[in-house]
């Protein structure tokens, strides 16, 4: 006999990966205990949990700093990236002239240019934000530009038949057509904004009250406080997953009535 819960798609989607996770943590703990591995080499999940609780004050403060940079970078990327895309679709010339530079920005390793930006920008928070924007903005630009161009040619013909101006075309046709692409870009961009914020902080090595999760990891490493290092790492991962889930939720909400990506397949 099958339990009805196992036939519930939602339940399975959450329970199955959770089960794998729990098994993994148990194995981890068992291996660490069985081999007697010292905490400064590899702490078990229990030790990491303890660090989580004991160091929560420091961890939470660092999380807020990292989150602040991430969200600022993400917001700026969305605004500037969308603006750039709108500019690109205005004329083929603008796109051809500028797009290679967007690619150039994307392929330059952020680690290599972060020190420069930290020298140029006085305020550390802003310096980190600029670094994160540099890598987070590209998916927004490329996806939104693609979306604004991916318009049903027959619908476009219809707009032309009615002698519709560019602005109307943009508002009524191009922007709605671009939404699924735009949300796809946002999903990638949140993750990159977080990575950018962390990587830039590694390079900057900011301490004091400005310290984010990356600095906490560095510092814990110097002090051989490995459980705290893992706790900080776990927080970064959690933040990334949460931001991604938020984007998925948002795009499903906006697109659920019409776009294939948001449709549930009916059995």
């Amino acid at each position: 006999m099958k339990s009805p819960l196992l036939e519930n798609e939602r339940f399975v989607q959450i329970a199955a990966p959770l089960f794998v996770g729990v098994v993994f943590l148990l194995l981890w703990e068992a291996v660490v205990r069985a081999t007697g591995t010292p905490v400064y080499i590899l702490p078990g999940p229990v030790d990491i949990g303890k660090a989580f609780v004991e160091d929560w004050g420091v961890l939470f403060h660092s999380l807020l700093m990292t989150l602040k940079v991430t969200l600022m970078a993400f917001a700026i990327s969305v605004v500037l990236g969308t603006a750039a895309s709108l500019l690109f679709v205005q004329s083929r010339w603008i796109e051809v002239s500028l797009f290679p530079y967007a690619v150039l920005m994307q392929v330059t390793p952020i680690v290599a240019i972060a020190p420069l930006i930290i020298i140029w920008v006085d305020d550390t928070t802003w310096a980190l934000t600029v670094c994160a924007v540099i890598i987070a903005i590209f998916p927004i630009i490329s996806n939104t530009t693609l979306g604004l161009r991916s318009v049903d040619p027959n619908l476009l013909s219809m707009f032309r038949m009615y002698r519709t101006g560019r602005l109307q075309q943009l508002i009524r046709l191009r922007i709605p057509s671009a939404l699924p692409y735009f949300f796809g870009g946002m999903r990638i961009s949140t993750g990159l904004a977080l990575i950018g914020a962390v990587v830039a902080e590694f390079v900057a090595g900011t301490g004091g009250t400005q310290a984010g999760l990356a600095y906490l990891i560095l510092q814990s490493g110097y002090n051989l406080d490995i459980p705290r290092m893992f706790a900080a790492l776990g927080l970064i991962t959690l933040t990334g997953i949460t931001l991604f889930a938020l984007m998925v939720w948002l795009s499903d909400r906006v697109l659920r009535n019409w776009h294939e990506s948001a449709l549930k397949v009916e059995q």
Partner: protein, 291 residues
């Protein structure tokens, strides 16, 4: 039986009176030209001659089908009639009331594409009102006109649905409602039912004829199907490919309304044979030009 026989002549008379009496098209009005394609060539940038010296006059109230093998330029011709794209040589003229050549504003064209071409993000009502929005036509009767258009295609209950919730045939009907809402004096249709199954297609053909009669439209209809062309039209214009040109203009003089009886009549079969023969000639000419 006798009852039916007694009634039938009356019905026919009622159908002919007062509009249809004495007109060759059988659909009313005096038959002034509404669009005139004169000596038109269309050459694409890559050198393809899509149309060569095409002459075609469509009169008010007519239902004209453009029929021909692939690449004969029938869709190109239709798009030129819609003012989409420029002719290489010759001219396309549109008429309004009183034979005046009208500018871009006055001519009321509607175009129905091969697929429904709806905005997936907008509900049915919003899709139907799109032409009004684009024309910045907003009167007190806007909502009523949308209701009317939806009524006529039998979708008044689906105004708030999204296109994806409708079947292919229903989406096509939304597309037709969107064309109707502008009260066009020229309706251009580019293989509108090509992607549908035969039953839906026959149903929509009958719907289209009913609406055409009721609204006094002028229709230019591109199709691949000989049967569809003969069933619907007053005139079937047969085109040949390479270069695209008109080779025959076959009048279909069967009276409207046409129904199932017409589909199985010898008259229908005769017209189909004539059009098929013309099409045969067109295909052969195209192949010769190709070799």
């Amino acid at each position: 039986m006798t009852h039916v026989k007694a009634i039938r002549p009356e019905v026919v008379v009622a159908g002919q009176d007062p509009d249809t009496a004495g007109t060759p098209q059988g659909n009313g009005r005096a038959g002034r030209p509404i669009v005139d394609v004169h000596g038109v060539d269309k050459v694409y940038n890559n050198g393809t001659v899509a149309l060569k010296d095409v002459e075609l006059t469509v009169k008010e109230g007519e239902f004209v089908s453009l029929l021909g093998p692939s690449g004969c330029g029938k869709s190109t011709l239709l798009r030129l009639m819609a003012g989409l794209g420029d002719v290489t040589r010759g001219e396309v003229k549109w008429w309004e009331q009183g034979y005046d050549v009208v500018g871009q504003k006055g001519r009321k064209l509607a175009f129905v594409f091969q697929n429904a071409t709806l905005m997936p993000w907008a509900r049915v009502r919003k899709n139907v009102r799109l032409p009004l929005d684009l024309n910045r036509e907003k009167g007190p009767d806007t909502e009523q006109r949308i209701d009317q258009a939806l009524d006529m295609v039998g979708l008044n209950k689906f105004g708030n649905a999204y296109p994806r919730e409708l079947s292919g045939g229903m989406q096509m009907r939304v597309s037709i409602a969107r064309a109707m809402v502008t009260e066009p004096n020229l309706l251009l249709m580019d293989e509108p039912f090509g992607a549908l199954d035969e039953m839906t297609r026959n149903k929509l053909n009958d719907d289209l004829l009913r609406l055409w009669k009721a609204n006094g439209w002028t229709v230019v209809f591109v199709t691949h199907s000989v049967y569809e062309a003969v069933y619907l039209s007053n005139r079937v214009v047969v085109m040949a490919a390479r270069p695209g040109r008109v080779i025959e203009d076959v009048p279909i003089e069967a009276p409207y309304p046409r129904g199932q009886e017409f589909r199985v009549s010898t008259e229908f079969a005769g017209y189909c044979r004539r059009v098929s023969e013309a099409l045969e000639v067109a295909s052969r000419q195209g192949e010769e030009a190709n070799s």
